[in-house]
Amino acid sequence: MDLATLIFWIIAVILVGSALMVVVLRNIVHSAVALILLFAMAAGIYVLLDAEFIAIVQILIYAGAVTILILFALMLTRISGQQQRTNPTNKQWWIALIICTLLGVSIIYAATTSPHAVATVGSDSGQLPAGINNVVRLGQLLYSPTQYSFVLPFEIASLVLLVAIVGAIVIGRED
Protein backbone atom coordinates (compact mmCIF):
# COMPACT_ATOMS: atom_id res chain seq x y z
CA MET A 1 0.00 0.00 0.00
CA ASP A 2 1.61 3.25 -1.07
CA LEU A 3 1.36 6.59 0.68
CA ALA A 4 -1.41 8.02 -1.52
CA THR A 5 -3.62 5.00 -0.86
CA LEU A 6 -3.01 5.26 2.88
CA ILE A 7 -3.90 8.97 2.89
CA PHE A 8 -6.97 8.24 0.79
CA TRP A 9 -8.25 5.68 3.27
CA ILE A 10 -7.65 7.94 6.28
CA ILE A 11 -9.44 10.87 4.60
CA ALA A 12 -12.25 8.68 3.28
CA VAL A 13 -12.99 7.18 6.71
CA ILE A 14 -13.10 10.64 8.34
CA LEU A 15 -15.21 11.95 5.43
CA VAL A 16 -17.86 9.23 5.66
CA GLY A 17 -17.81 9.38 9.47
CA SER A 18 -18.40 13.12 9.52
CA ALA A 19 -21.15 12.78 6.90
CA LEU A 20 -22.85 10.22 9.16
CA MET A 21 -22.44 12.61 12.10
CA VAL A 22 -24.15 15.38 10.10
CA VAL A 23 -27.24 13.25 9.49
CA VAL A 24 -27.33 11.36 12.81
CA LEU A 25 -26.52 13.91 15.53
CA ARG A 26 -29.47 15.26 17.52
CA ASN A 27 -28.23 18.81 18.00
CA ILE A 28 -28.14 20.69 14.73
CA VAL A 29 -25.25 22.94 15.80
CA HIS A 30 -23.15 19.80 16.24
CA SER A 31 -24.25 18.76 12.75
CA ALA A 32 -23.04 22.10 11.39
CA VAL A 33 -19.63 21.62 13.04
CA ALA A 34 -19.38 18.11 11.58
CA LEU A 35 -20.21 19.70 8.21
CA ILE A 36 -17.06 21.87 8.49
CA LEU A 37 -14.99 18.70 9.03
CA LEU A 38 -16.66 17.12 5.99
CA PHE A 39 -15.82 20.07 3.76
CA ALA A 40 -12.21 20.13 4.94
CA MET A 41 -11.79 16.40 4.30
CA ALA A 42 -13.33 16.77 0.83
CA ALA A 43 -10.66 19.41 0.15
CA GLY A 44 -8.07 16.78 1.14
CA ILE A 45 -9.54 14.40 -1.45
CA TYR A 46 -9.24 17.13 -4.09
CA VAL A 47 -5.57 17.71 -3.24
CA LEU A 48 -5.04 13.98 -3.64
CA LEU A 49 -6.58 14.22 -7.11
CA ASP A 50 -4.25 17.03 -8.28
CA ALA A 51 -7.01 19.67 -8.11
CA GLU A 52 -5.30 22.26 -5.92
CA PHE A 53 -7.42 25.19 -7.03
CA ILE A 54 -10.68 23.38 -6.28
CA ALA A 55 -9.34 22.40 -2.86
CA ILE A 56 -8.59 26.04 -2.02
CA VAL A 57 -11.98 27.15 -3.33
CA GLN A 58 -13.61 24.39 -1.30
CA ILE A 59 -11.99 25.66 1.91
CA LEU A 60 -12.82 29.30 1.13
CA ILE A 61 -16.41 28.92 -0.04
CA TYR A 62 -17.73 25.83 1.70
CA ALA A 63 -15.80 25.64 4.97
CA GLY A 64 -15.77 29.44 5.20
CA ALA A 65 -18.80 31.09 3.68
CA VAL A 66 -21.50 28.41 3.47
CA THR A 67 -20.89 27.13 7.01
CA ILE A 68 -20.97 30.64 8.45
CA LEU A 69 -24.22 31.24 6.54
CA ILE A 70 -25.71 28.03 7.97
CA LEU A 71 -24.59 28.90 11.51
CA PHE A 72 -26.13 32.37 11.21
CA ALA A 73 -29.40 30.87 9.96
CA LEU A 74 -29.35 28.46 12.91
CA MET A 75 -28.79 31.36 15.28
CA LEU A 76 -31.71 33.33 13.81
CA THR A 77 -34.15 30.40 13.80
CA ARG A 78 -33.50 28.96 17.26
CA ILE A 79 -36.72 27.53 18.71
CA SER A 80 -37.14 28.18 22.43
CA GLY A 81 -37.94 25.21 24.65
CA GLN A 82 -36.45 22.72 22.19
CA GLN A 83 -32.78 22.88 23.05
CA GLN A 84 -31.82 19.21 22.94
CA ARG A 85 -33.36 17.70 19.84
CA THR A 86 -33.08 20.47 17.30
CA ASN A 87 -32.42 18.12 14.36
CA PRO A 88 -35.26 15.59 14.45
CA THR A 89 -36.10 13.02 11.77
CA ASN A 90 -39.59 12.48 10.45
CA LYS A 91 -41.70 9.36 10.92
CA GLN A 92 -40.77 7.82 7.56
CA TRP A 93 -37.03 7.78 8.28
CA TRP A 94 -36.78 4.00 7.89
CA ILE A 95 -38.28 4.17 4.38
CA ALA A 96 -35.65 6.81 3.56
CA LEU A 97 -32.96 4.50 4.98
CA ILE A 98 -34.12 1.59 2.80
CA ILE A 99 -34.32 3.77 -0.33
CA CYS A 100 -30.87 5.26 0.23
CA THR A 101 -29.30 1.86 0.92
CA LEU A 102 -30.81 0.38 -2.24
CA LEU A 103 -29.73 3.40 -4.28
CA GLY A 104 -26.21 3.19 -2.88
CA VAL A 105 -25.91 -0.54 -3.59
CA SER A 106 -27.15 -0.08 -7.15
CA ILE A 107 -24.80 2.87 -7.83
CA ILE A 108 -21.81 0.94 -6.47
CA TYR A 109 -22.79 -2.14 -8.51
CA ALA A 110 -23.10 -0.04 -11.67
CA ALA A 111 -19.80 1.76 -11.03
CA THR A 112 -17.81 -1.41 -10.38
CA THR A 113 -19.17 -3.47 -13.29
CA SER A 114 -19.14 -0.71 -15.92
CA PRO A 115 -16.32 -0.74 -18.49
CA HIS A 116 -15.11 2.83 -18.05
CA ALA A 117 -14.14 4.84 -21.09
CA VAL A 118 -11.44 6.56 -19.06
CA ALA A 119 -8.45 4.78 -17.59
CA THR A 120 -9.14 3.32 -14.16
CA VAL A 121 -5.59 3.71 -12.90
CA GLY A 122 -3.62 6.91 -12.71
CA SER A 123 -0.49 7.46 -14.76
CA ASP A 124 2.54 9.53 -13.87
CA SER A 125 2.83 11.07 -17.32
CA GLY A 126 0.66 14.02 -16.28
CA GLN A 127 -2.28 15.49 -18.09
CA LEU A 128 -1.03 19.03 -18.49
CA PRO A 129 1.63 20.47 -20.80
CA ALA A 130 5.04 20.99 -19.26
CA GLY A 131 5.45 24.17 -17.21
CA ILE A 132 1.73 24.73 -16.70
CA ASN A 133 0.25 23.91 -13.32
CA ASN A 134 -3.34 23.33 -12.33
CA VAL A 135 -4.18 26.94 -11.42
CA VAL A 136 -2.67 28.38 -14.61
CA ARG A 137 -4.49 25.82 -16.75
CA LEU A 138 -7.83 26.52 -15.06
CA GLY A 139 -7.28 30.24 -15.61
CA GLN A 140 -6.67 29.64 -19.31
CA LEU A 141 -9.76 27.45 -19.53
CA LEU A 142 -12.01 29.95 -17.76
CA TYR A 143 -10.87 33.27 -19.24
CA SER A 144 -9.09 32.77 -22.56
CA PRO A 145 -11.11 34.37 -25.39
CA THR A 146 -9.09 32.78 -28.21
CA GLN A 147 -8.31 29.18 -27.24
CA TYR A 148 -10.71 26.40 -26.22
CA SER A 149 -12.30 27.82 -23.09
CA PHE A 150 -15.40 28.14 -20.96
CA VAL A 151 -15.82 31.92 -21.10
CA LEU A 152 -19.55 31.98 -21.85
CA PRO A 153 -20.57 29.53 -19.07
CA PHE A 154 -18.32 31.48 -16.73
CA GLU A 155 -20.12 34.76 -17.52
CA ILE A 156 -23.50 33.06 -17.13
CA ALA A 157 -22.35 31.78 -13.73
CA SER A 158 -21.61 35.35 -12.68
CA LEU A 159 -25.15 36.27 -13.73
CA VAL A 160 -26.48 33.39 -11.59
CA LEU A 161 -24.54 34.77 -8.61
CA LEU A 162 -25.92 38.28 -9.21
CA VAL A 163 -29.49 36.96 -9.36
CA ALA A 164 -28.89 34.94 -6.19
CA ILE A 165 -27.56 37.98 -4.31
CA VAL A 166 -30.51 40.15 -5.35
CA GLY A 167 -32.95 37.31 -4.68
CA ALA A 168 -31.56 36.63 -1.21
CA ILE A 169 -31.78 40.31 -0.29
CA VAL A 170 -35.35 40.65 -1.63
CA ILE A 171 -36.58 37.44 0.01
CA GLY A 172 -34.88 38.01 3.34
CA ARG A 173 -35.82 41.68 3.67
CA GLU A 174 -38.14 42.76 6.46
CA ASP A 175 -41.19 44.62 5.22
Partner: protein
Protein backbone atom coordinates in the same frame (compact mmCIF):
# COMPACT_ATOMS: atom_id res chain seq x y z
CA UNK B 1 -1.93 -1.60 -6.16
CA UNK B 2 -2.60 2.11 -6.09
CA UNK B 3 -5.69 4.20 -6.24
CA UNK B 4 -8.21 3.42 -8.95
CA UNK B 5 -11.22 5.31 -10.27
CA UNK B 6 -13.53 2.93 -8.41
CA UNK B 7 -12.22 4.15 -5.03
CA UNK B 8 -13.48 7.65 -5.78
CA UNK B 9 -16.72 6.55 -7.45
CA UNK B 10 -17.66 4.41 -4.46
CA UNK B 11 -16.70 7.16 -2.01
CA UNK B 12 -18.90 9.58 -3.98
CA UNK B 13 -21.78 7.09 -4.05
CA UNK B 14 -21.64 6.52 -0.28
CA UNK B 15 -21.50 10.26 0.42
CA UNK B 16 -24.37 10.89 -2.01
CA UNK B 17 -26.57 8.33 -0.29
CA UNK B 18 -25.82 9.69 3.19
CA UNK B 19 -26.69 13.17 1.95
CA UNK B 20 -29.87 11.92 0.31
CA UNK B 21 -30.90 10.26 3.57
CA UNK B 22 -30.34 13.54 5.40
CA UNK B 23 -32.24 15.52 2.77
CA UNK B 24 -35.37 13.34 2.82
CA UNK B 25 -35.55 12.33 6.47
CA UNK B 26 -34.88 15.59 8.32
CA UNK B 27 -37.65 17.81 9.68
CA UNK B 28 -35.52 20.88 10.25
CA UNK B 29 -35.24 22.80 6.95
CA UNK B 30 -31.59 23.66 7.64
CA UNK B 31 -30.89 19.95 8.16
CA UNK B 32 -32.37 19.31 4.72
CA UNK B 33 -30.07 21.98 3.30
CA UNK B 34 -27.04 20.32 4.93
CA UNK B 35 -28.00 17.03 3.27
CA UNK B 36 -28.15 18.77 -0.11
CA UNK B 37 -24.69 20.27 0.47
CA UNK B 38 -23.31 16.77 1.21
CA UNK B 39 -24.86 15.50 -2.04
CA UNK B 40 -23.27 18.33 -4.04
CA UNK B 41 -19.88 17.54 -2.49
CA UNK B 42 -20.29 13.87 -3.42
CA UNK B 43 -20.90 14.89 -7.03
CA UNK B 44 -17.78 17.08 -6.92
CA UNK B 45 -15.67 14.16 -5.68
CA UNK B 46 -16.94 12.05 -8.58
CA UNK B 47 -16.35 14.81 -11.15
CA UNK B 48 -12.79 15.49 -10.05
CA UNK B 49 -12.10 11.75 -9.90
CA UNK B 50 -13.14 11.38 -13.54
CA UNK B 51 -11.04 14.40 -14.43
CA UNK B 52 -7.97 12.89 -12.76
CA UNK B 53 -8.25 9.50 -14.46
CA UNK B 54 -8.86 10.87 -17.96
CA UNK B 55 -5.69 10.41 -20.01
CA UNK B 56 -7.04 10.81 -23.55
CA UNK B 57 -5.17 13.68 -25.21
CA UNK B 58 -6.15 16.41 -25.90
CA UNK B 59 -9.34 16.09 -23.81
CA UNK B 60 -7.48 15.47 -20.58
CA UNK B 61 -5.86 18.91 -20.88
CA UNK B 62 -9.30 20.57 -20.87
CA UNK B 63 -9.90 19.46 -17.23
CA UNK B 64 -13.66 19.36 -17.87
CA UNK B 65 -14.39 17.62 -14.58
CA UNK B 66 -12.68 20.36 -12.57
CA UNK B 67 -14.45 23.09 -14.56
CA UNK B 68 -17.77 21.38 -13.84
CA UNK B 69 -16.84 21.23 -10.14
CA UNK B 70 -16.23 25.01 -10.14
CA UNK B 71 -19.66 25.63 -11.63
CA UNK B 72 -21.25 23.22 -9.14
CA UNK B 73 -19.61 25.12 -6.27
CA UNK B 74 -20.90 28.42 -7.73
CA UNK B 75 -24.46 27.17 -8.02
CA UNK B 76 -24.29 25.54 -4.57
CA UNK B 77 -23.23 28.83 -2.96
CA UNK B 78 -26.06 30.70 -4.74
CA UNK B 79 -28.54 27.99 -3.73
CA UNK B 80 -27.44 28.09 -0.08
CA UNK B 81 -27.82 31.88 0.07
CA UNK B 82 -31.31 31.89 -1.46
CA UNK B 83 -32.50 28.87 0.53
CA UNK B 84 -31.33 30.30 3.87
CA UNK B 85 -32.97 33.65 3.05
CA UNK B 86 -36.21 31.78 2.35
CA UNK B 87 -35.91 29.79 5.59
CA UNK B 88 -35.41 32.98 7.61
CA UNK B 89 -38.33 34.69 5.84
CA UNK B 90 -40.60 31.69 6.56
CA UNK B 91 -39.42 31.57 10.17
CA UNK B 92 -40.23 35.26 10.60
CA UNK B 93 -43.76 34.71 9.34
CA UNK B 94 -44.65 31.29 10.82
CA UNK B 95 -42.25 30.85 13.79
CA UNK B 96 -41.15 27.41 12.59
CA UNK B 97 -38.53 25.78 10.36
CA UNK B 98 -40.23 22.34 10.43
CA UNK B 99 -40.76 21.32 6.82
CA UNK B 100 -43.75 19.20 7.91
CA UNK B 101 -45.58 22.25 9.20
CA UNK B 102 -44.84 24.53 6.25
CA UNK B 103 -47.77 23.33 4.14
CA UNK B 104 -49.29 26.55 2.82
CA UNK B 105 -48.74 25.48 -0.80
CA UNK B 106 -50.20 21.97 -0.29
CA UNK B 107 -53.75 21.24 -1.50
Amino acid sequence: MGLTLNHFLILGAILFCIGLYGAISKRNAIGVLMGIEIMLNAVNVTMIGFSFFNHVKPYSTYLTGQIFAIFIITVAAAEAAVALAMIIAIYRKRETVDVGEIDIMKW
